[in-house]
């Protein structure tokens, strides 16, 4: 498989008055062409920051402080704003959480779509409109000619998210980063949108990074999962392996915390404690204070990713030496 984007030892820091927040710490990931990767973790684990750093769009005071992001043989982590503009929305596009907010309320859908095309491709207005219509059909928007002239408030939430997806498809990107694309939608629409994304990734052979905290969504759509905890990868491997046979105590906790309909009325399982403040990390493994399998070693040393027999990579001393 040919790698599409190769992240090597990426570090993202936020310089605050109260200290340096290390939001992403030493993350290495490779996404192949046409591959679908899920990034899961709880709030504040650094999922979104990781996503934004891939298009080099971290808002101040955040900064990429180390590592490389190799895309098309170039290290885009070092690109300037104007160099990056050629890649954003063109080769890599992004879908946001809330479709109510991501469309400009005062411009028609057509204007916003054409704008994206004209920013990246050398086409006439007519050709741009044809591309828009084509992509709107791909996301199953009925009577697209009419819809192009309408404003965002004339669409429902699910439709808007489909339009956002259509906008991200306009330039036929190689990679789409979807940052919790279904969180703001209700459950039936969620399934519809995820099916649509999956279908489009398959037909257009696009890579997908799905950032979410919803393990159910990830297990349906992605081929691989990276579990992020406190800015570090805790576990990385095939979706099936991770869902059926989680290795890291954190991943196990996450899966146990899923509500089970069949078991009747029960209290939800939860992982005790909270994620440590990113300002003062424990010396050892960041998960150690909450971990049920904590050892002496975990308090002082940080585990690194090791590959197990089934191909899963896990950062945990308890799993070292394999199973």
């Amino acid at each position: 498989m040919e790698p599409l984007i190769d992240i090597k030892n990426l570090c993202v820091d936020f310089e605050l008055r109260s200290g340096t927040v290390r939001a992403v710490r030493d993350v290495s990931l490779t996404i192949n062409k046409g591959e679908r990767l899920g990034i899961v973790g709880e709030s504040g684990a650094g999922k979104s920051v990781l996503g934004f750093s891939l298009i080099n769009l971290i808002s101040k005071p955040g900064k990429i402080t180390g590592g490389e992001i190799i895309f098309n043989k170039q290290d885009i982590a070092k690109f300037k704003y104007d160099q990056m503009r050629k890649i954003r929305g063109n080769d890599i596009s992004m879908i946001f959480q809330d479709p109510m907010m991501t469309l400009n309320p005062v411009l028609t859908i057509g204007t916003q779509m054409k704008e994206t095309i004209l920013a990246h491709m050398d086409v006439t207005d007519k050709e741009a409109e044809a591309i828009c219509l084509d992509k709107l059909q791909k996301v199953y928007i009925p009577s697209p000619e009419k819809r192009l002239k309408q404003y965002p408030h004339e669409f429902s939430g699910g439709m808007r998210q489909r339009i956002v997806i259509a906008i991200s498809l306009l330039t036929s990107p190689q990679l789409i980063i979807a940052d919790e694309p279904t969180t703001a939608l209700d459950v039936t629409i969620q399934a519809e949108i995820m099916d649509l994304l999956l279908e489009l990734c398959k037909t257009e052979n696009m890579g997908l990074i799905l950032i979410t905290h919803d393990l159910a969504v990830v297990s349906e759509v992605t081929q691989r999962i990276a579990v992020l905890y406190a800015g570090k990868i805790a576990e990385l491997g095939d979706t099936e392996q991770i869902i059926s046979n989680p290795q890291h105590p954190y991943t196990q906790g996450l899966l146990q915390a899923l509500p089970q309909m069949a078991d009747g009325e029960q209290r939800l399982n939860q992982i005790p404690g909270m994620m440590p403040s990113l300002l003062n990390m424990p010396m050892g493994c960041p998960f150690e204070p909450r971990c049920s399998e904590s050892m002496e070693k975990c308090k002082t040393k940080i585990p690194t990713l090791t590959t197990l027999d089934n191909g899963t990579q896990v950062a945990c001393f308890a799993r070292e030496g394999g199973k």
Binding site: I55, L57, Y81, D82, M84, R85, K86, I87, R88, G89, N90, S93, M94, F96, Q97, D98, M101, T102, L103, N104, P105, V106, L107, E115, T116, A119, H120, K146, K149, V164, I167
Partner: protein
Amino acid sequence: MRSKWQRFKESYMLYNFLRDPVALISFTILAILFFSAFAAPIIAPHNPYDSTTIDIMDAQIPPAWEHHGDSKFLLGTDAQGRDILSTMLYGMRVSIIIGVGAVCLQAFIGIVVGLLSGYIRRLDNILMRIADVQLSFSTYMVAIFIGAIVQTAFGVAGYDKVAVPLIIVIIGLAEWPQYARTVRASVLAERKKEYVEAARVIGLSRVRIMWRHILPNTLSPVLVISTVQVANAIMSEAALSFLGLGMPVNKPSLGSLITAGFEYIFSGSWWITIFPGILLVTLILVINLLGDWVRDFLNPKLYKG
């Protein structure tokens, strides 16, 4: 597809407007005033700029319904024998041109500065401090200063020619910080919204994001202050003219008409001052009332159901 006109006919704006008698009456009066001002060369009974038609013997004739009134001059004549009604129409035209022109200039400078300082944070401090400095000079001080310099530089004859653009520039320069501050405040609120983030993700340039995405979302407060500012600019011009720093007497605005008549008010020729005064007050009042309606309409918090 419905046409623009149909959309407008069905819009809530028109519905609200037609059910607000104050707005409706204000708009009607304003429309009549604007029309008569710009149609002045056609509808005015005399041409006050044409010195050959003016007879000094007609000076200070009272309005037609008064004793000694002349039906040729409905509202009487001024000290030079010019018909008050015609001069008022021509004068209102000058006042409106100056008011609207000055507001366009203010809006242009203010919007550019406001966008830049709201979106590009590095420029914020310097641009807003410049605005503060500008605001610390009053309009009249700036006007007196520049007006005096230009009058000495061009001489009185030259000044007559540049008076209109000069006053537009003076009032425009003196009041732009109002716009800059309003626009900046809106931009600061808008720039954090996700559609701006999305526009950056798409890879649009900064200029395009500012102009196409942020600016249209900040326009409603701009529209509201514009109405107030037009009224303010007309008043500033009238005040300047009243002080003798605005429009010269041979090309009068409403303000200079009021001054010209002011000298005669105690000798009984009240009409020279009173009629332009009433017209000025009416003009400002309807613009402000209309502005109030626009503000209420654009502010959803003030909807009364």
